[in-house]
Subunit: 229 residues, 2 copies
DNA sequence: ATATCCGAAATCATATACGATCCCGCGTGG
DNA sequence: CCACGCGGGATCGTATATGATTTCGGATAT
């Protein structure tokens, strides 16, 4: 029972491709084409795209069509700033409820991250970074805040290169901050203290990313409009 | 030119009714009925409802239909908590950009609020309260955060009685806090200080509302499913 | 009296069809 | 050579039609 509705199916189809980068920002989503690939009619696809639009992953222009949202530099900054805010708060909210077992898992993940530093596995590092924070949000008493965190993550994923949390010269500090956050939680530190530590952790990463990009990115502004598959 | 699309029209139609309370939480949104009222087909109405669903104003059940979201007590608390967070941050972000003129307007609104206290005009008070904060968000450099604030306000509006920001015994303190926030901004206070002041301002209101409701609400749990018009 | 099953009504979900709008390239005139 | 307008192709926007699912009331059996 409960066969997934076709609009739901279409939603996941597109979403998946945006998340893993097959549909890069700027990629045009043509209703008829996607409908054809999925072997459904255009109506469910439209619904899916409208939903993605409401989530900010896709922009839609009347009588023209939809494309994966182009996130400008400034918007990236805004999203990260917001993410720092809600992640920090979520961390402080969840802190009192975390069990020693969960904190142990967080530590284990962080140790693993430390290891990937030596072996230089940036992708694994990024992955573990997400896991680490996910553990710290387990059991967050405010699902609404958690929802905002996830929205932020999704938006970040649209431009993967930037969500890439491994920044040379910053990664080690990041691991240390993780350690410190776990310690604060263990000590039952003040909620505000935890919040600000977690917020600063994210903000520092943002600054590092920006500095890194400013150093390494030439003045090229490649036009998207790429083709997938 | 640029005639509003019918799905947009449907969206506004429904949205308006949710906002002003004609469609109370739990009210069933029947596609064909709404389509008939607007004299359009069901397809655009579906889209509108899907969008409202993504925004959290409406819940949708496959093969059953949509209804205005029922917000539970705890969820109300969560939303308010989140709102306190993002409003506080938005206030601190905007603070450095506010001109004396804008601060003057904020003060004027607050003075007006003080006046409504004496004349006992709770509705006007609530209205002005929104205006006051809206002024403080003018020119917020992070539209993303601002978007979250508006989302929060929308959600609040779904259950108007609770968004009613006039609470006996609390209103006066609220006005004083407004004054203090404006002062902090004028003095060019530290961003964090402003943020926490604004956050606390909202949190205190939340507490007051909860305390008030606990005092005054009998153990009745009226079932919605009301009918509009 | 109560539980269960059946069928009709209501409503949703999707496909298909057609008209509307926009974009872009080509031709014409300056 | 450039500006302008026109037409065709691509794509969207919506209406209509039909099949699918759920819901609910009533009949029947225990």
């Amino acid at each position: 029972m409960s066969v997934e509705s076709k609009s739901q199916q279409a939603y996941r189809f597109i979403r998946e491709r945006i998340d893993d980068g097959r549909y890069v920002p700027g990629y045009r989503l043509v209703l008829a084409q996607i409908a054809g690939e999925l072997d459904v009619s255009v109506v469910p696809v439209r619904e899916a795209i409208r939903r993605l639009e409401a989530e900010g992953l896709v922009t839609f222009q009347k009588n023209v069509g939809a494309q994966v949202a182009l996130i400008k530099e400034t918007e990236y900054l805004h999203t990260m700033q917001t993410l720092a805010l809600v992640e920090g708060f979520a961390t402080s909210l969840t802190a009192p409820y975390l069990t020693p077992e969960q904190l142990g898992r967080a530590r284990a993940i962080n140790d693993e991250m430390r290891r990937t530093l030596e072996d230089f596995e940036p992708h694994r590092f990024t992955e573990l970074n997400l896991e680490f924070h996910a553990v710290l949000f387990e059991g967050c008493p405010n699902p609404h805040v958690l929802d905002l965190v996830h929205r932020g993550w999704n938006r970040m994923r649209v431009l993967r290169d930037s969500s890439f949390s491994f920044v040379p010269g910053r990664a080690r500090a990041s691991v240390e901050e993780h350690e410190r956050i776990v310690e604060l939680i263990e000590q039952g530190a003040d909620a505000l203290e935890i919040e600000l530590a977690a917020r600063q952790h994210r903000t520092a990463t943002l600054d590092a990313v920006l500095a890194y990009q400013a150093d390494h990115k030439p003045a090229s502004a490649p036009a998207p409009q790429a083709v997938a598959t």
